[in-house]
Symmetry: C2
Subunit: 423 residues, 2 copies
């Protein structure tokens, strides 16, 4: 076990037992305050640890890194250093925060400078996104969508069980949690209409996803074996793949979803490292027929991460619409990265690879309204007695995720977005 | 007419009458030499004009730009200044190069420093690509592919005449002309096989396209009207959208082409400005049924650009496989950009928007081997008496483009790539 994951570790910082950010987590993000320009921070309890200040106080002297990489508006320059450096930095931060370590706790000037209350910090987009791929790796989601969009009796296309199907998404419109989402306009065609129409989407939806961020550049012409994938994955975030279903249905043949998705994609600000998630590896579902050998992997490469979606209407109380788990995915991240690079395409630092909507087998575990309401046929009733087939203006969607074991909770925080009227 | 486009202009530099780069063109690119690190250049005849040196000699004093933006490995910082500055710089370069202007020609030290023979310059990727969209805007190409991949009697899907259908491509693997292309591996399934197989593609193809590069950032939630699009388009390049047809056919449902395209996309190094192409605007084809009003435009928004594809086998002579024209496209660039941003997605500087394969109505004008050989059923015979259904290892594909009128030729140079065996 990595020392930094030891459940017996405690910090000199007071941390609530239900905090997403105990000393065993230490996710990385980018924050700013009215006094501080954008820089790298680490979440610990209710605080953001200012990595830039720790660098100025020579706290990373023994690690082969120029600490000015923490004084950047994106994590890219830090994560370009590769896994040995990420791990060394996380281990060192763990050491500095442990009970009895006095390097920070014994230096009141440093302590005051390097700890920022989360309520005082504004979180920014953690990476400058190079490329964005969205997979489609939940068997239940692909089946549900296939039934609704295509053939109820034959929902899964022939390639699905042979490869982690995916498409390229839009990188420019990936935004951090809290960014308002304008209802997109688009072209739609009602089933009974002769001609399409243009206007605000009437079927705005969310999609619950988890995404990984790559942290190592590769050359054109090289491929990554599934068993090597971990060396390239810096960490994970929650992702809401906002979707306009009416636009999607009309536009997506034959080249796939385009404007129905590209108007906005929200991610959570804290990147939880693969190292922090190490204790939560689990076996995935059996894959039959057996995939081709370039998708082979050894060991357990699924992760047990509890996920939930909440809806908060402008006026009313929050309702939980979905409880599911990242472990339900059919294809794992190692297979996704092996498939992505099987044609020799190069990876860039800060690429985002999303899972696709994560659904379980029951309606309460469906990761989109499309599935939950059967394309609007069975609206859900909220506590304020209003109904939702799809999202209304001023609705806020909140997604949360956490792993938990032996009393240790490795949380993702949340990804939140409020729908604003079309402009 | 823009003064810089005046057909009567001549330069003190000797330029062959069939050169792609007369004084009326002045495309921008990024070059390096053994002595010079990457920087901005302008093509003139057989020379590259070093914009960095001209900046050092205060040749752009009257223009509101910091000339150190020419000392960059990408054009992005220059083109982020917007159209008034691009135009002012091109006008100024035109002035400096005119017969009788002695600011350069009368200063032998400067002249020696700022003119680099093209044969001494290595051309690099002109922009750091933000986002890459590939449209599908040729009626003939969409019809040909629909016949081969789907239904011979009903090739065009219902949405095609209502919107410029498109998908997102991979930005990381866009490479400059001359970069070798490794034959991609991928998953394919033969029609008669029960199960898919993995290995080098047996149906590697090119696609002849023209792409535009955006040069102005926009905010999320804003849209660009078709008539405003020109303000956002810095210029055009040739683009070869290399495609593995066997991979594409098996993977593309339901989310569109992915690994069959993402292994490599080649572009020509010189970005020909929209200003240089101004004299070549032409009326496009009639669009019926009339598109929705968000796709309305005024004036002529197609461009008359002659295009050709040549194939050069390792051992043999070059054959021309295609002659076609950019004006054949059904949807124009202004409509493409209006559609792209109709959902409020933000543009970034250096985004690439490709036309989709440009085919005319006859086999000699088809922009891909897929169409020309009817998916390999009618191979073409080369001068060395070998046949091609698809590309073989060591084949080189060369695409060229130029506009011509009143004795003035505005050329794109070429985009070239040689296929290397799978690694």
């Amino acid at each position: 076990m990595l020392k930094a994951n030891d459940p017996s570790l405690h910090s000199w910082i007071q941390i609530a037992p239900d905090s997403d950010f105990p000393i065993q987590n230490l996710p990385f993000g980018i924050f700013q305050t009215p006094e501080k320009d954008p820089r790298v921070g680490v979440a610990i309890g209710n605080y953001v640890l200012d990595m830039c200040v720790l660098g100025q106080y020579n706290m990373f002297e023994l690690i082969d890194i120029d600490p000015t990489v923490f004084h950047r508006p994106y994590l890219n320059d830090f994560i370009a250093h590769g896994r040995p450096v990420w791990r060394a930095i996380r281990n060192r931060v763990s050491e500095l925060l442990r009970t009895n370590n006095e390097e920070i706790s014994g230096n009141s000037e440093l302590m005051q400078k390097c700890l920022v209350r989360m309520t005082d910090a504004e979180m920014l987009l953690p990476v400058k996104v190079g490329n964005y791929t969205d997979f489609y790796s939940s068997l239940e989601h692909a089946t549900n969508v296939g039934q609704l969009f295509r053939d109820p009796d034959n929902p899964l296309l022939p390639n699905w069980r042979h490869m982690p199907v995916a498409y390229h998404g839009r990188a420019s419109s990936i935004v951090v949690s809290g960014t308002p989402i304008y209802r997109p306009k688009g072209q739609t065609k009602a089933a009974e209409a002769d001609l399409p129409a243009f206007g605000p989407s009437k079927q705005l939806d969310y999609e619950l996803e988890v995404a990984f961020i790559t942290g190592k550049e590769t050359a054109l012409g090289t491929s990554i074996a599934a068993d090597e994938a971990d060396e390239h994955i810096f960490g994970l975030v929650l992702l809401n793949d906002w979707s306009a279903r009416d636009v999607q249905k009309w536009e997506y043949v034959p080249l796939g979803p385009f404007l129905s998705k590209s108007f906005a994609t929200s991610i959570s600000p804290w990147v939880v490292t693969l190292d922090a998630l190490e204790p939560f590896r689990v076996k995935g579902p059996e894959q039959l027929p057996r995939p081709l050998s370039y998708l082979d992997f050894t060991g357990h490469r699924h992760y047990d991460i509890n996920l939930e979606v909440q809806l908060q209407p402008a006026s009313g109380n929050t309702t939980t619409l979905c409880h599911t788990n990242f472990k339900h995915l059919y294809w794992n991240m190692s297979q996704q990265l092996a498939h992505q690079t099987s044609n020799g395409v190069n990876l860039q630092v800060g690429d985002i690879y999303a899972s696709g909507t994560i659904s379980g087998s029951e309606p309460g575990s469906f990761g989109s309204l499309l599935e939950l309401t059967r394309q609007g046929q069975n609206p859900v009733t909220l506590p304020d007695n209003t109904q939702r087939s799809f999202l209304q203006d001023y609705d806020t969607v909140i997604m949360r995720g956490f792993s938990e074991k032996e009393g240790i909770r490795i949380g993702f925080g949340e990804v939140r977005g409020q729908v604003l009227p079309a402009v």
